[in-house]
């Protein structure tokens, strides 16, 4: 059974990963965060809590997710490529791992209402699902632009009984959804639990979500050792906020021979509109945390761009900012065009349709230098069903 272990990359008692992380929120929210932190300290290594999480992850989500050897792609590249199949989880992505655990925490703390922000809608769907399962009232905040480009997920959330708010301010994407979720949270701090979808936001969320997603790396490590008898050379994952990446990296970060590679959304290109907070941003404060941000000279937050709604965010989880500085993870990017090519490539070579987000990690197989004979794990964080409408507009096969 998976139980997190303390790591040398844990934040300090105020939630700081060096200068990153912390709690930059209105005072109204501080008592709720301090209560959450205390509660999490009590259950972080508690067997009873993790047994309950384990039950749902096995029987409801379908874990462990397979580590699949991709024969055709491996042959084409002359490398050994495995996919960690988070796309096979119930609700279609890794997001559910985190939401099950946070939902159970909300229940333990006595909350009856949960809220969540969502970009691609995967986290919104996962939250709506768990709210239905655990009998919690659920409201989802989503940028109006994302509501449009992810209409299937919006319908799924409604079908599951959630109320969906289309946020009209700013870029009308994930950043603005998070602004409105925080405003709602400040207003309803006493009776509402905020299920944050990624390793971001104020402490203790980045630590909690990392622990909840690290089951991915915990399984993948055991699976690759069983199949190959050795650790991989590279582990690749895409990064929006960075939870699937932190999740799979967590159990490889302290192994010197394993290179963890995080892929940001290169959008229209590195010198054009993109979502490359680490490559093009600088440290700053947004949404409760200090991390790398896309911003102008005065610290006004810039709009990100990505083909994938889940990566279309001008910030990144603080632990990634910290890993960039301490060089424990390598960061690179993939453009919209490269991601779309990989979306088709994986579909046609392996019969697996990846999410646009995950397509960024897949695409990196073609960008990675000296790939020959390498043993590689790619985290296939989600499936592409939700992207069909958008893909249909961009791709023509006749």
């Amino acid at each position: 059974m998976y139980i997190p272990k303390p790591s040398k990359f844990d934040p300090d008692s105020l939630g700081h990963f060096d200068i990153f992380g912390g709690r930059y929120v209105p005072e109204t929210l501080m008592p709720a965060l301090l209560k959450l932190e205390k509660e999490y300290e009590q259950i972080r290594f508690d067997e009873d809590f993790w047994r309950e999480v384990d039950y749902y992850l096995k029987d409801y989500v379908g874990r462990p997710s397979p580590l699949y050897y991709a024969h055709n792609i491996s042959e084409e590249l002359g490398a050994k490529v495995y996919f960690k199949r988070e796309d096979l989880n119930h609700t279609g992505a890794h997001k559910v791992n985190n939401v099950i655990a946070q939902g159970l925490m909300a229940k333990r703390l006595g909350y009856k209402k949960v809220i969540a922000e969502t970009g691609a809608g995967q986290h919104g769907v996962a939250t709506a699902t768990i709210a239905a399962l655990l009998g919690l009232e659920c409201e989802i905040f989503m940028g109006a632009k994302d509501v449009e480009r992810q209409e299937l997920n919006v319908f799924r959330m409604k079908l599951l009984g959630a109320k969906v708010h289309a946020c009209q301010s700013g870029s009308k994407t994930l950043k603005d959804a998070m602004n409105d979720a925080i405003r709602h949270w400040v207003t309803n701090a006493r009776d509402t639990f905020y299920i944050i979808g990624t390793v971001a936001g104020p402490h203790p969320y980045p630590l909690m979500v990392r622990d909840f997603q690290a089951i991915i790396g915990w399984e993948a490590r055991a699976q690759i050792l069983e199949k190959e008898g050795r650790l991989p050379d590279c582990v690749i994952a895409c990064i929006g906020g960075g939870s699937n990446a932190i999740g799979i990296f967590q159990h490889f970060l302290e192994d010197e021979g394993v290179e963890c590679i995080g892929i940001e959304a290169g959008g229209l290109g590195i010198d054009d509109k993109n979502g490359c907070s680490l490559q093009k941003g600088r440290p700053g404060v947004l949404h409760g945390q200090m991390s790398y941000l896309l911003q102008d000279e005065d610290g006004q937050i810039l709009e990100a761009h990505s083909i994938s709604a889940g990566l279309d965010y001008p910030g990144i989880g603080p632990e990634h900012a910290f890993h960039k500085e301490n060089k424990s993870v390598t960061y690179d990017y993939i453009t919209d065009e490269e991601a779309l090519d990989a979306f088709v490539w994986l579909s046609q070579r392996e019969g697996i349709i990846p999410a646009f987000e995950s397509s960024h990690a897949v695409a990196y197989l073609k960008k990675l230098q000296n790939i020959k004979d390498k043993l590689i794990i790619v985290n296939l964080s989600g499936r592409g069903d939700k992207d069909m409408i958008q893909a249909k507009e961009m791709l023509h096969f006749d």
Binding site: E27, M30, G170, R183, A189, R190, V285, I301
Partner: protein, 247 residues
């Protein structure tokens, strides 16, 4: 003691000169302290009115240097604080910004997303420069937490009137919180959020003053008014509120 009135206004909306004129006029009409707002792209503690003023100011090309210029212009005549989200100040570099703002004649800072724990590392820097960093107390705080927050509070304590964002109509009983604060400090307590001509009297009942933002911004956003009319209306509002809280 006369109950005090603090007015929040957004920098450079509609333009720099207007902000300076408005600040000076308000000070002559009952406002004791001006909270000069730094527009930010993502003002999560603010309601729709202040968010809109922020966005319009940014769309007009607002730069941080505009706030510096306004401050230079009025600081000898106005008791002035800067109100902004932490990123706006952090990007200027606090090491440089604090001495500069002191030199400009600023009294201190109000930073709604910098709670007590995150202020600790800058405490020394604020003190060295003789600037205050206003402490916030929220109606979700326990007595223990209030004690921690207010122990070094200076100038005034910003009592958030309700759980929520600025400019909403919510109402909470603040008496127990203000009583708790008073057991730990003599620093005056000002109530902010949702204060307007109608609510001012009630909100000031147990406090030493009020902070008014959205009610002024509501006037600034009225497109059918000329600059002069806006300033007149704001001054009328300030006078009314000042009378209400001291009635």
């Amino acid at each position: 003691m006369n109950k005090q009135l603090v007015a929040y206004i957004t920098s450079a909306y509609p333009d720099k000169n207007f902000t300076s004129d408005l600040a000076l006029a308000l000070t002559q009409n009952g406002v004791d302290t001006i909270e000069l707002g730094i527009p930010f792209s993502d003002p999560v503690a603010d309601g729709p009115l202040i968010e809109k003023a922020n966005q319009l100011s940014l769309r007009n090309g607002f730069r941080f240097s505009d706030t510096v210029e306004i401050t230079k212009e009025i600081s000898d005549k106005v008791d002035l604080l800067w109100m902004g989200y932490f990123n706006s100040f952090y990007q200027q570099g606090l090491d440089k910004l604090l001495p500069l703002s002191k030199q400009l004649g600023l009294g201190g800072y109000i930073i709604p997303d910098l709670p007590h724990e995150e202020t600790l590392r800058y405490k020394e820097l604020f003190a060295q420069n003789g600037l205050v960093n206003i402490a916030f107390v929220a109606p979700t705080d326990s007595k223990e937490r209030i004690e921690t927050i207010v122990q070094d509070a200076q100038k005034f304590i910003y009592m958030v009137a309700y759980t929520g964002i600025t400019g909403s109509g919510k109402d909470e009983n603040l008496e127990p919180f203000i009583n708790d604060i008073k057991t730990f400090t003599d620093t005056p307590v000002f109530v902010g959020f949702g204060v307007n001509a109608k609510t001012a009297k009630a909100k000031a009942k147990h406090s030493d003053g009020v902070i008014v933002g959205s009610a002024f911004i509501d006037i600034l956003l009225q497109e059918n008014l000329t600059h002069t009319q806006k300033i007149e209306r704001c001054c009328e509002l300030a006078k009314v509120i000042k009378e209400e809280i001291n009635a």
